[in-house]
């Protein structure tokens, strides 16, 4: 029987076969670990699903980038003897990895200088580690951040370097540890509070808004709250309504907060470092689907200023404004539009509060048309805010109404086809652009 590489997390598309725990000819029992597989989140032992004898190991140890579904070994059933000899090359499962699993071509990172390829996850980890080395007051707390190495492996390795004092596993008590983090910031520390996902920060939003965001003002400027609340935000993959919401607009609504939502690894690193150094409370919205994506990241000290949008791709017929994973959709749409001879500029907001209105208006003044792309609900969204800016301050530059392309206005469904239908996609952006040209 074939042993295929299983999906070991909702977002896993490829894995690494770290180590075989058995060799050909070994008898294995159902439930016995046969291999160690490294996923996008953790190293997991793969267990035999049935009793049998190891007939062949088809993938060498250390093989990276194995698509889910790859046949990695063959077991012969105990009773039916050895199966026929394996045919040619190991087959890949019918379920091919989606296009997003392929490395994207490198795009120009900010500024010249040497770069190296890094995942968003590694860039975030490096940002925290560098800032923790730089400033003794910086510590990270949250669920599974220390011994488990991070529920999404973002804090991997931090415990080993910084110890339990500065890498603090919390109980599952978001309201409590968010408030405790705020108190620690009042007390002179610079906490990084990780929420396993921003969905769970709903339990803590009182402290983010009432305690962190408002205190500087309420205290007449006496008491700062330098804290970073970070975690994955927005839809992941097939985790359905309660685990798939974009909260950007909620936080971007609140005076006193800084809200950042980067797309690529260079911005993730440079902006997280800036967030940790900020004297304001920062809500730092990551995206689970982007964690494993790799990009060029400048080597050495790399800081990105808060509050500045970035043109990812210059163009002159239309501006596509987006942030976080929406940028991915916009870039793909821009590629498709280019094939039709339409030149789209892609503007990545990167910071949602303060919003870089000047960048939005400058781009609009060049292209005179705008479509806002957002992986999130349409009502009272960041897209709605960008449209308001274009209307209030860029009206004379507009040659057509601004459009928004967002997720459907429904709780995110579980069924694969419904989920695909609900999420924002490049084809919708292309259609919106063509409608206003």
């Amino acid at each position: 029987m074939d042993v295929r590489l299983p999906a070991l997390s909702p977002t896993m598309e490829v894995g690494t076969l770290a180590r075989w725990l058995v060799k050909p000819g070994d008898r294995v029992r159902s439930g016995q670990p046969i291999a160690e597989v490294e996923t996008d989140k953790a190293t997991i032992e793969l267990e035999a699903e049935a009793d049998g004898v190891v007939e062949a190991l088809l993938v060498p140890e250390g093989t990276e980038g194995l698509p889910v579904g790859t046949v990695i070994a063959r077991l012969a059933g105990v009773d039916d003897g050895f199966a026929p000899a394996p045919s040619a090359a190991p087959g890949v499962a019918a379920r091919a990895a989606p296009a997003t699993a392929q490395p994207v071509p490198p795009r120009a990172a900010e500024g010249p200088g040497p770069t190296r390829r890094q995942s968003v996850r590694e860039a975030l980890r490096d940002a925290m580690a560098e800032e923790m080395r730089r400033d003794e007051r910086v510590f990270v707390m949250g669920e599974e951040v220390a011994h488990y190495q991070g529920a999404y492996k973002v804090t991997q390795g931090l415990l080993a370097e910084f110890g339990e004092k500065r890498v603090v596993d919390t109980p599952i008590t978001e309201y409590g540890f968010a408030g405790l983090g705020v108190g620690a910031a009042f007390g002179g520390l610079r906490p990084i509070v990780e929420f396993m996902t921003m969905n769970f920060a709903m339990q803590a939003i009182d402290h983010i808004v009432n305690s962190a965001a408002k205190t500087r003002y309420m205290s007449g400027g006496q008491l700062a709250c330098p804290i970073v609340f970070r975690g994955p935000n927005g839809a992941a993959a097939r985790v359905a309504a309660q685990h798939s919401q974009n909260f950007a607009a909620w936080y971007a609504h609140v005076p006193g907060l800084v809200v950042i939502a980067p797309y690529d690894a260079a911005d993730a690193k440079g902006l997280l470092k800036a967030a940790i150094r900020s004297d304001d409370p920062v809500v730092f919205l990551e995206n689970e689907l982007l964690y494993g994506r790799t990009f060029e990241v400048p080597q050495g000290e790399h800081l990105v200023p808060i509050g500045r949008a970035r043109i990812h791709r210059p163009g002159h017929d239309v501006t596509l404004v987006s942030y976080s994973i929406g940028v991915d959709v916009a870039l793909e749409a821009a590629d498709a539009l280019a094939a039709d001879g339409i030149s789209a500029e892609v503007l990545d907001l990167r910071t949602l509060r303060p919003l870089d209105e000047a960048a939005i208006l400058e781009s609009l003044a060049r292209t005179h048309r705008m479509v806002v792309v957002e992986e999130g609900w349409p009502r009272c969204s960041v897209a709605a805010e960008v449209m308001a800016v274009a209307m209030e301050k860029g009206f004379d530059e507009l040659d057509a109404p601004v459009r928004r392309v967002t997720d459907a206005d429904v709780p995110l469904p579980y069924a694969a086809n419904l989920e695909r239908a609900a999420l924002v996609k490049p084809a919708d952006v292309v259609a919106a652009v063509k409608a206003i040209l």
Partner: protein, 357 residues
Amino acid sequence: MARTGSAGRVRQAATPAEPGRLDAVPEPERYVPTAQEYRAFYRLMLLIRRFEEKAGQLYGMGFIGGFCHLYIGQEAVVTGLQAALRPGLDSVVTGYRDHGHLLACGVPAHAVMAELTGRAAGVAKGKGGSMHMFSVPHRFYGGHGIVGAQVPIGAGLAFAHKYREDGGLALVYFGDGAANQGQVYETFNMAELWKLPVVFVIENNQYAMGTSVNRASAEDQLYRRGESFRIEGLQVDGMDVLAVRGAATVATDWVRSGRGPILLEMKTYRYRGHSMSDPAKYRSREEVSAVREHQDPIDRAARELVELGFATEDELKAIDREVRAEVAAAADFAEQAPEPDLAELFTDVTASGTPWT
């Protein structure tokens, strides 16, 4: 049946004799003050009382707006506890009934009163108001308007003391109403787990707004609320400043010795309504006047000062005159001080001072 049995087990498990448990908190003794200390306690309690009476008057005259929660009746709690702190080191945080706490931390009466009237000279530049006052130089971290929010914040202040190894502790005040908030128990769990240097003080004034403790709390002996987190609790007569001061010694010694948090339930009483707009129909006039006549912390201190020979009646009257003059001056100041400049609307929103939109 099962319910009784399980409740029985819970009680048993909480006894100090349980193996592996830290030694029990020593029984607090009533504090033995010097004449100077007792007179200072008396003066501070009186200052808080007269200040709050004046705040009530100014509210009635329209100088103070919004919500205004008076501390009258509870003065012994903050007076006895603050006296055990090391000023400039230990941190203090409370809820919205905070005027007395600011005064006890040493914030000048005129700065507190000017905050109540929304003036630029207020302790928070007039931007916080009654419920949201802060004084970082006094290590007073609010003044929080959301019931129970100060509890994890206080544990965070304690976390910072432990992290910095500065030997400080955090004193966290909350009411019997806040004691039912879920975040309090999330905090208890972390505070004991991480042995944070924090004294939790429940100011049990018997009424959460209009709902009495017994109508809102399955366990109305609030000092026991830390049991399932292994947090020792003490119940204290919060109407006796020396009892409070004695318990404060036990609690701060416990916490400073690195044994983690402790919980104090201060049995106290507020004479006035929950806020200025509270008609207080949920209790009888007789109940209030009985406490005032028989348990008033200031009257008790006055009697004892004379009995102990620490002060004469005339000296107490002189203190009263002095306090009244201080409060009157604070009120005059707060009425006459200018409102904040309109440009202040857009300051202090962020570190850069920019009013980001």
